[in-house]
Amino acid sequence: MTEHTYKPLGRSGMAARAAQDIPGGWYVNLGIGIPTLVADHVPAEREVIFHSENGILGVGPAPAKHKENPWLINASSQRVSLHPGGSFFDHAMSFAMVRGQHLDLCVLGGFQVAENGDLANWAQSAESGTGQIGGAMDLAVGAKQVWVIMEHTTKGGEARLLKRCTYPLTAPRCVTRVYTSLAVLDVAERGFVVRDIIPGLSFEELQAKTEAKLHR
């Protein structure tokens, strides 16, 4: 079976793959989970300015243990550092930046992405009253580019790249690119366009793990 000749990317591998595509000078928000790891893979000499929705521009890497600042956390509640030139502001201003389309990119986690760019990443059922929206809905409609990083399929092997999302939406038609454990896909007018597949996996094998039709 060819299926055993490839090695899916892990969390760090997916983050590294996305980091590779972020140009210097971009303003970027990293969502909770795998996206947060992206920062570690951007080369130090490439100046990317990270935004955190709790009111920070210029988020730096995790500090050394003895240099921790308990008043400086990112949106994932991890203690972080601040790049020289960084700034603090309030939540209204922070989301003005987000909603006002000042971010070049946000990288979000996802449960499902549809071929029309719909994203579902905050709840797995339509029960209201609980759920974890956080800043995702604002980021999904606000950033100029919305990239999603996620496993290509669920643990049970179900497709996450779908014709239509079955989970509640975070935002319609917002995703511009998806980095999965198996491939990089753009969301184009005609649907998912495969840009990159991990070594050892064929287009047809990738299609077999994907509900939506893939384009070359």
Binding site: S52, E53, N54, G55, I56, N69, P70, W71, L72, I73, A75, S77, R79, L82, F88, F89, D90, H91, A92, S94, F95, V98, R99, A123, A126, S128, G129, T130, G131, Q132, I133, G134, G135, A136, M137, D138, V141, G142, P168, L169, T170, A171, P172
Partner: protein, 232 residues
């Protein structure tokens, strides 16, 4: 002479009524007015609507809940408006069992609705949430090819704020990322109550560096509270 400092927690909490809408600042434990929340628990007001970014923690065997989680666990909150109410948290439990109403909304909309309340803007259109469950029951219209929904201002009867330094006019500065919701919550409360780590004389905060001018602040209590705890 204007002096917004109060000398006791009882004075800080004086007059908060049952049924009040209480806006609570903070993001995680950073910038959270935890002493004031404990004061509110002590004060006794109940049947509250609480507006807060995150709905509090899970029940942990053998650990007494504190702060917001305790207020919720005590059944004092009839409705919570929040951006995160985890199903496994105590708040989530109460919502599922019908003991508390939960309303989960986007974080930017939460901030903007409070800012609108403080700024005298009764309602605004936003693209956030259009085409999602958040849009249910809301008016929508299209601007520049994007669907937007109408959201209303979210004012508080009471706002609870944590500052780094305050003066007797109620001017406030915040430390680093603890600023978060604090200036927004401060604007939106009819009665804005502040706990501050430090106090200073009038004129010591440079005029160009004041973040929340005292016009938004009613009462200030000096609470040197130590560093925020890391998230567990």
């Amino acid at each position: 002479m204007i002096d917004k400092f109060v000398r006791s927690m009882a004075e800080a909490m004086d007059g908060i009524k049952d049924g009040s809408t209480v806006l609570i600042a903070g993001f995680g434990d950073v910038g959270a007015p935890n002493a004031l929340i404990e004061g509110l628990i002590e004060q006794g007001a109940t049947n509250l609507t609480v507006v807060v970014n995150s709905g509090g923690r899970n029940r942990v065997a053998g650990v007494e809940p504190s702060g917001l989680t305790k207020l919720v666990a005590l059944g004092r909150v009839k409705k919570m408006i929040s951006t995160f109410i985890r199903a496994q948290s105590i708040a989530g439990e109460l919502v599922r069992t019908g003991k508390m109403e939960g309303v989960v909304i986007p974080q930017g909309t939460l901030a903007e609705r409070m800012r609108a309340a403080g700024a005298g803007i009764p309602a605004f259109y936003t693209p956030t949430g259009a085409g999602t469950m958040v849009a249910e029951g809301k008016e929508s219209r299209w601007y520049q090819g994007r669907e937007c929904i109408l959201e209303e201002a979210l004012p508080g009867d009471v706002a609870l704020v944590e500052a780094w330094t305050a003066d007797r006019w109620g001017n406030l500065v915040f430390r680093d990322a603890s600023r978060n919701f604090n200036p927004v919550v401060a604007m939106a409360g009819a009665l804005t109550i502040v706990q501050t780590h430090h106090v200073c004389d009038l004129g010591q905060l440079p005029a160009n560096e004041i973040v929340t001018p005292g016009i938004f602040v009613n009462r200030v209590l000096h609470v040197p509270a130590g560093d925020p705890k890391p998230v567990v």
